[in-house]
């Protein structure tokens, strides 16, 4: 809770609001009018109180570039990001699960070596570059998949279902998902494989074998279930980091989501939008961290919070 408060203090203290007129050539009178309109000519602590009051009523500011409330922009963008994030995660984690099992079973072979290198490449390759490569190969050279946006230009969806479930949408979803997913699977793959190997060395596995259980039963029933934990916990912390990566994918693919919106806002010097989005993202990440801490505490009874 202290964190939230400090974050509150941070936001209005930014020089952001003070720079509204900076990008434009404004006459002093117009500047003055703009400033009083946005309440910037009031002393700083008044601005701060105003900001807080606005927040409580759900008003996050007025986008300079779009000329609509910030909240509108966020509302229209956030689902796109969430859909992309969800599909990438599902893609990444299913692959990591399968891959981890395969690699653990083939420890010491060349395949495992390949897997390690692959995982390193997945984490090391910058997502925007992978995205560009994917576009240049799959969109331009092979012409298989569309290269940008969420829909083909000129496409009008009749309703929500059509907007998000049409083939056109899915075709546009494929490349960004694969690119993001590729980046996300590196670490879980490694973690899962390592924890599988570690679990297989535990005593109770030997016990299960001694009991006469088949290798398969030992593997799937005992080892996997316990080895999944570290992968899941790293996964939770990864969700916060995921936004960063998705931002780049959104930019490269012109996918209209929150990440790209922030970048556009920065390019356009749209300070209220930047402020509003940043605030929202920070709050949601804090919320997720709290949530994952609590879940972790519930799952593993050995951990207690004093």
């Amino acid at each position: 809770m202290t964190l939230l408060f400090v974050l509150f203090r941070l936001m209005p203290g930014d020089p952001l609001s003070g720079l509204i007129g900076a990008g434009f050539q404004l006459t002093p009178e117009v500047r003055q009018a703009l400033m009083s309109r946005f309440g910037l000519d009031q002393p700083l602590h008044m601005q701060y109180l105003l900001y807080l009051r606005n927040l409580l009523t759900g008003y996050l500011g007025w986008s300079l570039y779009y000329q609509v409330p910030v909240l509108n922009i966020i509302q229209s963008r956030i689902w796109n990001t969430l859909i992309l994030a969800l599909s990438s995660f599902v893609f990444a984690y299913s692959l990591a699960l399968v891959g981890g099992i395969i690699l653990a079973q083939r420890q010491g072979t060349k395949i495992e070596a390949l897997g390690i290198v692959l995982s390193a490449v997945s984490r090391g390759a910058p997502m925007f570059w992978t995205g560009m490569i994917a576009i240049s190969i799959f969109s331009f050279s092979l012409n298989w998949l569309p290269s940008h946006g969420m829909h083909t230009p000129g496409y009008l969806a009749k309703d929500i279902v059509e907007q998000y479930f049409s083939l056109d949408f899915l075709r546009h979803l494929v490349l960004p998902t694969v690119v993001s997913g590729f980046y996300f699977l590196g670490l879980p793959l490694l973690v899962f494989k390592d924890s599988l190997l570690e679990t297989l060395g535990e005593d109770y596995i030997e016990l299960a074998r001694a009991k006469g259980l088949s290798e398969r039963a030992v593997f799937y029933k005992h080892a996997t279930r316990n080895a999944i934990m570290p992968m899941l916990t790293t996964g939770m912390t990864l969700i916060g980091l995921a936004l960063e990566g998705i931002l780049y994918v959104e930019v490269v693919f012109s996918w209209p989501g929150m990440g790209r919106e922030i970048v556009l806002a920065v390019w356009n010097r749209d300070y209220p939008l930047i402020q509003g989005m940043f605030f929202l993202i920070a709050v949601s990440i804090m919320g997720m961290n709290l949530l994952s801490d609590m879940i972790y505490g519930m799952i593993d009874p050995r951990i207690t919070y004093g």
Partner: protein
Amino acid sequence: MNAIDFLRKDKFSLAGVVILVFFGCLGLAGPLIAPYDPWYVNRDKEGNPLFLTTPDSTHLLGTDNMGRDILSELLHGARTVLIVGFLTAFIVVFIGANFGLLAGYYGGRIDSILMRITDVVYSIPFTPFIIVLVALLRPSILYVVLALSLLMWRAPARVIRSQVLGLSKRPFIKAAKVSGASDLRIVYLHIAPNIMPLVLLYLATNVAWAITAEAGISFLGLGDPGLVSWGRMLHLCYMVGAIRVAWWWLWPPGICIILVTVAIYLISHAFEEIANPRLRKR
């Protein structure tokens, strides 16, 4: 067996070290061996600028949309990228390790204060923060390093702190205290060497992260426009729309970034195997 033997035996880390040394040399000597000035607009015999030429004998990696030689840009960029990476990593680990050491050793109120600060920083998302910061300040390499390092120290701080907490309770520390060693001496002479493996691990991963992050920032156009960097090369390539045709512009910077980061990850994976013997080949 000690670390050096391990590194020599494990082919991965060997490859990683070789790659890193290679790039290190490039970073040092790059600008000296680059065939052209990376900013120079190369022209052909009639004086026409050589826009987007494919690789040939005069320009081993072709030219970009302004006629600049890509190989030279790559070599010059190596230096920038490596400097940013290592500098950021050092700052991050320095701050983080000290936070962890002091918080873990002293405990009590100092610990609480330091950890509160860490918690605040913990909740700020990376890229949006970095973007916002770099956008507000002038786009210069110093600010980029600053922006990158202001957030990353929180992870090493937490982990090192828990390590130090455990270490501080050990008998040899108590012995040192009893024999009258000053606190500072204990922390830096006795405890610090024991957390060195962890420190090295974080150093490595942070260099990799910083390089990728710098590339990302430059890709978004927020990097230092006066310096060549691999991210900036990709930025221009994307902005000009050249990814359609100019594979010689698109692939090399990315491959370089991948090579460096993969090398670092391989080495750090070896570090992890050193720390956890169960992972070694059975």
